[in-house]
């Protein structure tokens, strides 16, 4: 069955684990060919960037802030115990930039956007809206999947930067409430010794997390079967699978970045 003619009858039995990966591979192959060929749906892409980026911002800022507070409170206690309190700013900055900011952002977006994409596309699938798009002569995959996945890839690094900023700023607030320190000196101390290689690879690896979130959400959504229950299943599985893949990818990417940044 050709890509334009797939997945319509809803009669096929549930695929096995290996079949699922096979279908995912075919989905990725289709994505690669569709992303770089015309027509491009810029308006839909901008709308999805707004959905993924702007609308996720409050949640991401809050998650970043919470991380900053927790890091500040927990780390201070340990550092005071070992007489290394002066290291607090740099530990907060490095932890947030290198790991907490990217992974917290990715997991928050997994929950919000992964579920949203899975449920929206799932609902469109079971109500034949995706078939209606295809029937009218518009490539539904390009319109719905390519734009959503690209939006996730483009917005995740930007959201991560915002989460980092929020975490560091609120980390300073939590710190200065216990023992006054100016923002300028906190930043100066925190970023002492931080290089672009600490910041850039960590931040931009979230583009890969974005790819995973968009890909899994679209894939699960567009293969939804079985009415409302199927939509719920797609939304849940989109979150669970993308979160799991993000965590696994994080392990691999951290090691890869370490290897590549070794002098």
């Amino acid at each position: 069955m050709s890509p334009e003619q797939e997945g319509v009858n809803g009669k096929a039995p549930s695929p096995s684990f290996l079949e699922w990966f096979g279908e995912l591979g075919a989905f990725v192959a289709k994505l690669v060919t569709s992303t770089f060929t015309r027509p491009f749906h810029f308006r839909e892409l901008l709308q999805q960037m707004h959905e993924v980026g702007t609308r996720s911002l409050p949640l991401v800022l809050l998650a970043g802030a919470s991380t900053g507070i927790v890091l500040s409170l927990q780390t201070r206690e340990s550092l005071v115990r070992f007489g290394a309190k002066s290291l607090l700013p740099v530990i907060i900055v490095m932890t947030i930039l290198k790991e907490s900011g990217p992974i917290i952002t990715a997991l928050v977006v997994c929950g919000r956007i992964g579920a949203g994409i899975g449920a929206q596309l799932g609902s469109m699938k079971v109500t034949e809206q995706i078939d209606a798009i295809e029937a009218s002569g518009v490539n539904a995959f390009r319109l719905l999947a390519v734009t959503r996945i690209l939006a996730c890839v483009l917005m995740l690094p930007l959201l991560t930067i915002m989460a980092d900023a929020s975490g560091i700023f609120v980390g300073w607030i939590a710190n200065t409430l216990v023992e006054h320190v100016s923002l300028a000196s906190f930043i100066k101390e925190g970023f002492k010794g931080v290089t672009f290689m600490d910041f850039l690879p960590s931040t931009f690896r979230t583009a890969i997390f974005g790819f995973i979130i968009g890909l899994v959400g679209c894939f699960q959504g567009m293969r939804t079967k079985g009415g409302t229950e199927g939509v719920a299943r797609s939304a849940t599985s989109a979150v669970v699978i993308s979160s799991l893949f993000v965590i696994v990818a994080d392990v691999g990417l951290v090691r890869l970045i370490q290897l590549l940044s070794r002098p």
Partner: protein, 251 residues
């Protein structure tokens, strides 16, 4: 309905076989529709009528067989040529399948926005014009969730007409509607057929609607065409399934 002036074939289906697993859905279907003709495909629910319709625009592929639509073999089309072919065919879905995040007028504008170089103002004008044809101009700004089933069918019809197709496919256009609304939809289909000289296939189990809009009727049972002829001659068929269907359907 009187026979239209026919000139060649719009659709030719030959030896079409489709199965879902071990279940045969279409078992050697042969059908043709002349240009300007309206063929009504009757049959019980779940006998593969909708599947047959989906094959005609390549939403599903058969296991074997040939489907020629407007002179092109649809089973061998893929990618852009398939999308180009679909632009020539309007498809009205059973449950209308309106885009629920778009208003009524935006639903009709959707194919125009994606497939024509029209400006937003031109698109709006064209969409309102089609909505007027189906009597839905006053509901243009409403959302699909806020309109009735009959209205949704009308909007679905308007959306299918947006690109001025050469052919229309209707999947149960009167299913789930009360007899009055059902009659109105049939009249609307008839009116549009006459105004636009479209070739059409209407899949239904509504005998009243079939009588009103058909030039010819085919009946599908157990994956096979068991009757192909005029609506009037249906009454005289010796096939037990056809007789039963006519009797129960009030034909």
């Amino acid at each position: 309905m009187t026979s239209p002036a026919l000139g060649g074939e719009a659709i030719r289906i030959a030896d079409l076989y489709t199965a879902f697993g071990s279940q045969k859905v279409l078992d050697g279907v042969n059908l043709s529709v002349a240009k300007g003709e309206t063929l009504v495909v009757l049959g019980r629910s779940g006998t593969g009528k909708s599947v047959l319709l989906r094959h005609l625009i390549g939403l599903q592929l058969p296991d074997s067989g040939s489907i020629q639509v407007l002179g092109e073999e649809i089973t061998s089309l893929s990618g852009q040529p398939l999308y180009d072919m679909r632009k020539k065919v309007g498809f009205v879905f059973q449950n209308a399948a309106l885009y629920d995040s778009l208003s009524v007028v935006e639903n009709v504008e959707f194919p125009l926005g994606h497939l024509t170089p029209m400006t937003p103002a031109q698109r709006r004008e064209r969409a309102m014009e089609i909505l007027a044809q189906v009597g839905m101009e006053e509901a243009a700004s409403k959302m699909p969730a806020d309109i009735s089933g009959g209205m949704k069918k009308r909007v679905g019809l308007a959306r299918a007409l947006a690109l001025q197709p050469e052919m229309m496919l209707y999947d149960e256009p009167t299913a789930g509607l009360d007899p009055i609304t059902s009659g109105e939809i049939s009249d609307l289909i008839l009116k549009l057929q006459e105004e636009h000289s479209l070739s059409s296939i209407v899949v239904t189990h509504d005998m009243r609607s079939a009588k009103a809009i058909s030039n010819r009727v085919a009946m599908l049972d157990d994956g096979k065409i068991v009757y192909d002829g005029s609506f009037e001659a249906l009454q005289d068929s010796e096939n037990p399934f056809v007789s039963l269907f006519v009797q129960k359907g009030g034909g």
